[in-house]
Amino acid sequence: MPNGSDPVHDFTTQEYKYGFVTEIDADTIPKGLNEDIIRLISQKKNEPEFMLEWRLKAFRHWRTMTEPRWSNVHYPPIDYQDLHYYSAPKSQTNGPKSLDEVDPELRRTFDKLGIPLEEQKLLAGVAVDAVFDSVSVATTFKEKLSELGIIFCSFSEAVQNHPDLVKKYLGTVVPYTDNFFAALNSAVFSDGSFCYVPKGVRCPMELSTYFRINAAKTGQFERTLLIADEGAYVSYLEGCTAPMRDENQLHAAVVELIALEDAQIKYSTVQNWYPGDKDGKGGIFNFVTKRGACRGARSKISWTQVETGSAITWKYPSCLLLGDDSIGEFYSVALTNNFQQADTGTKMIHVGKNTRSTIVSKGISAGRGQNSYRGLVEIHKEAANARNYTQCDSMLIGEKCGAHTFPFIDVRNTSSQVEHEASTSKIGEDQIFYCQQRGLKAEDAVSMIVNGFCKEVFRELPMEFAVEAQRLLEVSLEGSVG
């Protein structure tokens, strides 16, 4: 049965859509990492003394640390002296400008990425902070948000205009001592987004940051700090892309979320960094520390991530459930195709009473992709009546990929309940045949089945991004079947 003998046939891999390079005059500092470089970065950003001190402390600590090797990913050693730690378009050197002043070349870049930096053209109800290499290019809807007392700006601006808030919260969820990459980020981070939602304010629009790596041989180290004061609500989304390059590029970000009493933060990520080519050449090394602290009673932090890009993803968005009755959630889709590797999951640390957490993780491995879920559920003694439910499902497409599950459960009281379920199975050949019998092409059948598999996670995403996520999954799966 010639055609029927292989239900899913080969077809050409579509090029990574966002792989272009923007030709732009950049201010790039020399390669290497030392205290002078850190002083230079701090100076370029015109930072107050406390920031420089903090960076230097982080750097000195980083030098005492060794790169972690416990995760299930394999990559060649990174030469931290062979990287540029700061690169910014020259036109942006004097800090972010108003929207009309943005360099037309940058504007075109973001247009091409589907992120027009003109408020009227943007998706209704989404404010964007656009970050290009080391700097924030523009932030939309700033004024409109400030009427409500919401601060949404680049991190650099926050350091200039709201130093007290930065000083109060920076490093309180992810201290610079936390891990190797967090320490590195703390020393050299160049920009990122900052958001503060005041007491009782429900942010009326989605806030989003779009990260773009452009320069070669440059690491991107952004830092996001998001604070929801008592009773506040905010939904935040980040997206990421990078050019196609043969060498690997390093991205080591830190995200800190703080939810005070009755506050809610919903943080969604659609990560589509360049994954490398079909032979595993190039691609982003994505080593990210994301953590949220539910400090107040009844606060809630919800992470949703769709990870389709990067050569390597190492990332565990976590929740510290400190306040009584606080809630942590983690919804994740991670897809690895070709030679991609992902080691991702979450930590739910239950400290407060009646705290609840939910983990739903969907891993899809195709090609030679290796996909690991790694998670920790820790119930402290004082966390009476804590609840956790974890569900981890893996789907395998093709025989050369791998799916791995490493959950760790640590329970120290009798009133809590923890439930973990996991399954791993092959994409159903009977499902594909059923769809084909009804007239669907094999590749459409695969993408329909995979999308169905991820449904529980997609429905947590804001509408526009759910559609984007589904489409991304289709593109990422191309060439995976055959």
Binding site: G4, Q431, R438, G439, F453
Partner: protein
């Protein structure tokens, strides 16, 4: 419409079909009966293009084309539909979305315009009334958590919507109570027409009380050992397969 000549098929080295000859013309309803393991379902799956089976000899022509050269979806586009004995569950994919995608894939392949959501829903609702189906089933994931009867009705609904030229019902009666059986049969009968052929694969003649066939074939040991009209099914019901199996075994000696 469908011509099968000397078809031999095997799976994992085990011979299952051992020389099937069958011709089905437009407007006809054929019943293929046989004991368990006789190869009935294999025949249905081979026509639909399932890749578990290796065709060792023989040919299958469909409207003059070599059917064995086509992928399962191409066969669907050409108008072949199989109602599965065990309809597959696809978690997370809504029934409406699935069926609309299938219908539009077929329409597109035939050069017809695709239906939009509204037109599709009108069409689907129409057919659902015919099958006495609850509309809520359309909003659930494909076959997931459906009862046995719901699954079978869902198959017939898909058949009604996709409007095939050749429909093969693989043990559609299994697991149905008498009321559900009647509903399914009514659904199938409504689709009978001069341009459509229907092949009913079944173990029992019960279904044939409601879907009255023009021809009945008895499949034993991978071969059609007897063909006849409606009365053959009744005869089988009275005598069981034992007599025919014995005769078949002897004829092979």
């Amino acid at each position: 419409m469908l011509i099968i000549r000397n078809l031999h098929a095997e799976a994992e080295g085990k011979k299952i079909l051992q020389g099937i000859d069958l011709e089905v013309k437009p407007g006809e309803v054929h019943a293929i009966m046989g004991p368990n393991g006789s190869g009935k379902s294999t025949l249905a799956q081979v026509v639909a293009g399932h890749d578990t089976y290796d065709i060792t000899t023989g040919e299958v022509l469909y409207e003059g084309k070599d059917l064995l050269e086509l992928s399962p979806e191409e066969r669907a586009w050409e108008g072949i539909f199989m109602a599965f004995q065990y309809p597959v569950e696809i978690p997370g994919v809504r029934n409406t979305y699935f069926l609309k995608s299938a219908l539009n894939a077929i329409r597109k392949a035939r050069g017809e315009s695709e239906l939009d959501a509204m037109d599709f829903l009108d069409l689907a609702k129409d057919k659902m009334r015919l099958l006495n189906m609850e509309e809520s089933l359309m909003e659930r994931a494909v076959n997931e958590g459906f009862s046995g009867g719901e699954k079978k009705r869902n198959e017939i609904l898909q058949m009604a919507v996709l409007d095939p030229k050749l429909a093969i019902l693989d043990e559609t009666d299994s697991g149905l109570d008498i009321d559900a059986l009647k509903i399914v049969a009514n659904g199938v009968n409504a689709l009978r027409g001069p341009n459509r052929a229907i092949v009913v694969v079944t173990h029992y003649q019960r279904l044939l009380n409601y879907i009255v066939p023009d021809f009945v074939h008895v499949l034993v040991g991978g071969r059609i050992v007897k063909s006849g009209g409606r009365e053959l099914a009744l005869e089988l019901e009275k005598q069981g397969y034992a007599g025919i199996e014995k005769a078949a075994a002897e004829s092979r000696l």
